[in-house]
Amino acid sequence: MYNPQLNAQGQLQHLLSIEGLPKRILTDILDAAENFVGVAEREIKKVPLLRGKTVCNLFFENSTRTRTTFEIAAKRLSADVLNLNVSTSSQSKGETILDTVNNLIAMHADMFVVRHQQSGAAHFIAQHVPPHISVINAGDGRHAHPTQGLLDVFTIRKYKPEMHNLRVAIVGDILHSRVARSEIHALATLGVPEIRVIAPRTLLPAEVEKLGVQVYHNMDQGLKDVDVIMMLRLQNERMSGALLPSTQEFFQTFGLTPERLTLARPDAIVMHPGPMNRGVEIDSSVADGKQSVILPQVTYGIAVRMAVMAILGGGNAA
């Protein structure tokens, strides 16, 4: 089957979604990321891999953290980085996406990091660009956020290397979350046997069970004996209509409190992709507690994004 993410040799050409990527590719990215973790601890936090290349951060939707981590990752690989907040620029003057992209190609961009509020935008750009240019999806609508999914599984692998033996719970707004979708695909591909989603019915996509997850509507039942708790942000900006009575009620039913955390295994880790709504999805004492790996997620996110860019930016071994 044709997969736009892979070239004729089966190597990664674009990173658009974790869905459809073989385990071999995911493992390659995670293994490469191990090499980049140490770069940040050295006197000179740079390696020369992308020297002379230009990476374009093409953000049609606002994001500070994701754009910043991609920017740091590209700079630590010695690339030149161009940040375009298209939402506040050409598009408001009426330029089409492809015209924007064509202009950047004319400026000899080598890689595009794309975030867009519409699902499929990165895929659309990937089909348009010439073969020497790679596209990385940094979040498209409700569809996918593959580097976030990868950095989450990288973090899990760091703390819980026995992935074939894990029970993972993803909690909160699954419906609007491209992060949840990418996490589920990554965990399943890497062989995690039990993936639970815990959410109110209004925040679950239809037929979510088909992704191979177990569905819980009760937080206490869902958290029982899990090794990993992945909290999600309540995406108020994507909600239309009354999906929730109030954020206070959400916290009472689905918020991660210190008491609920004791239901999980004593060595369970707590994750959150950020930005956090303290007191809505997660209690501050849990977010800052000793089981939280939320800040290591950010650090590992840079190594994982460096790995993805380094794999995409290099030649292909014949």
Binding site: G38, K46, I311, G315
Partner: protein
Amino acid sequence: MILPDPEQLLDQLYQQLKPRVHENTALVGIYTGGVWLMEKLLQRLQTELGRDIAHGKLNASMYRDDYARRGMKTTAQPGHIPFDVNDRHIILIDDIFYTGRTVRAVINELFDYGRPGLIELAALINRGGAQLPIRPDIVGADIPLLAHQAFELSINTQGRLHLTVTDSSQSATHSPEANLPNDSGAN
């Protein structure tokens, strides 16, 4: 071709290495074979000298000059330099010295950790074919090989080294460039 016992070559390398090691010396093994050799040399040195010696490992996969052609080697094990590099005497340890490109990459990486005082290179075998002005300071043996041949060093579960020669001309078609060293950095 009769091949020497790599354990004997390692002993010859050790005899030359030992007088060079002083208080300020650190050993750095180059993945993969160089790390095996470094660990064996380190163990013997630490036993005979009765003290700990600073040591580290590098793979230089992020500094290779063939990245634009061959891409990132993702299986490489992470480098680790757990000592202060500044003003150190560093002895790099590699298994087979060939083009010098791997050593060039490793030296570049080392400088991103700090400014070493002196860098020397020890190789188990120098097979000839250098493409850069870089040569090992001490070697176990000089054994020239043809471009289509390569040494392969392996280690068994008992930790014993084993040396073989592979020949790519027997499986690949012969090309006029066959006698020129390739630039992959592989040996």
